[in-house]
Symmetry: C2
Subunit: 152 residues, 2 copies
């Protein structure tokens, strides 16, 4: 094995780390392009629709949505603006807490999601899932679990 001094990374460590950066960068770019050209839908938009579909009654508070799609609150405000313009989502004042808003998926939004989903799933499958064995998928999932913050 390579020595692992405190102020440098071994080749293995470096490969594991830089691979994450490179792979993510490439896959995110490719999948976004694919979705955009096939359906005129950027990946961020797709992800909002997806999370809304999965939510009870197809609605989510703005803040929860932000967390789901890994964006800042203001980022989501504007993202939902665009989706509302497209008619894929509507904002509804939340009755229980009148500060809050629910973003709700419209029929049109759901239709768009269903149209785009096969493309995206196929893209993930082709570039990611299908290239890995079940053992490798398990290993990945285990790694992500281990890396969750606050878990020592």
């Amino acid at each position: 094995m390579h020595a692992t001094s405190s102020d440098q990374l071994s080749r293995l460590e470096l490969a594991a780390w830089r691979g994450l950066l490179r792979t993510h960068s490439r896959l995110a770019r490719e999948l976004d392009r694919e979705l955009e050209t096939a359906h005129g839908l950027p990946l961020t938009h797709y992800e909002v629709l997806l999370h809304l579909e999965a939510a009870p009654e197809h609605r989510l508070r703005m803040g929860d949505l932000a967390e789901s799609v890994l964006l800042s609150q203001s980022g989501v405000t504007r993202l939902v603006d665009r989706l509302e313009c497209d008619g894929f989502v509507v904002r509804e004042r939340c009755p229980a807490d009148r500060r809050g808003l629910n973003a709700r998926l419209t029929g049109e939004g759901l239709a768009k999601l269903r149209e785009a989903r096969p493309t995206h799933l196929a893209g993930i499958r082709e570039r990611f899932v299908a290239r890995l064995s079940e053992a490798e998928l398990r290993a990945l999932a285990a790694v992500w679990t281990r890396l969750r913050p606050g878990i020592d």
Copy 2:
């Protein structure tokens, strides 16, 4: 095992995929913040310095640099602009091909890199490397290899 139909992902597949997105997002954000607050150096800047240091004579063509840091050419043009303002890098017309430019690391740039490196390495170690076993690191490296484009 979960069935793997052609138009949806199994839980395992989903966990492997979404984990990549989440983990990358969180780590990139945290490491960038850390470097920025500790040394006033964004992660992208750090990466340029790092790749230049590793290059022969501490210099790289703009295009090669773009590839290294996973950015577009215009992105690197502007990134090098900023680094040149900071005095960490200089552009030198390439004698062999006078269209081209080399970005060269300055002494100041090298000093800054050396100042920032321990912070960044410690960050990677703490959040990533140290949480994984050697077997897991190997598994990750293997996965990245498998996912390289054009490899079936």
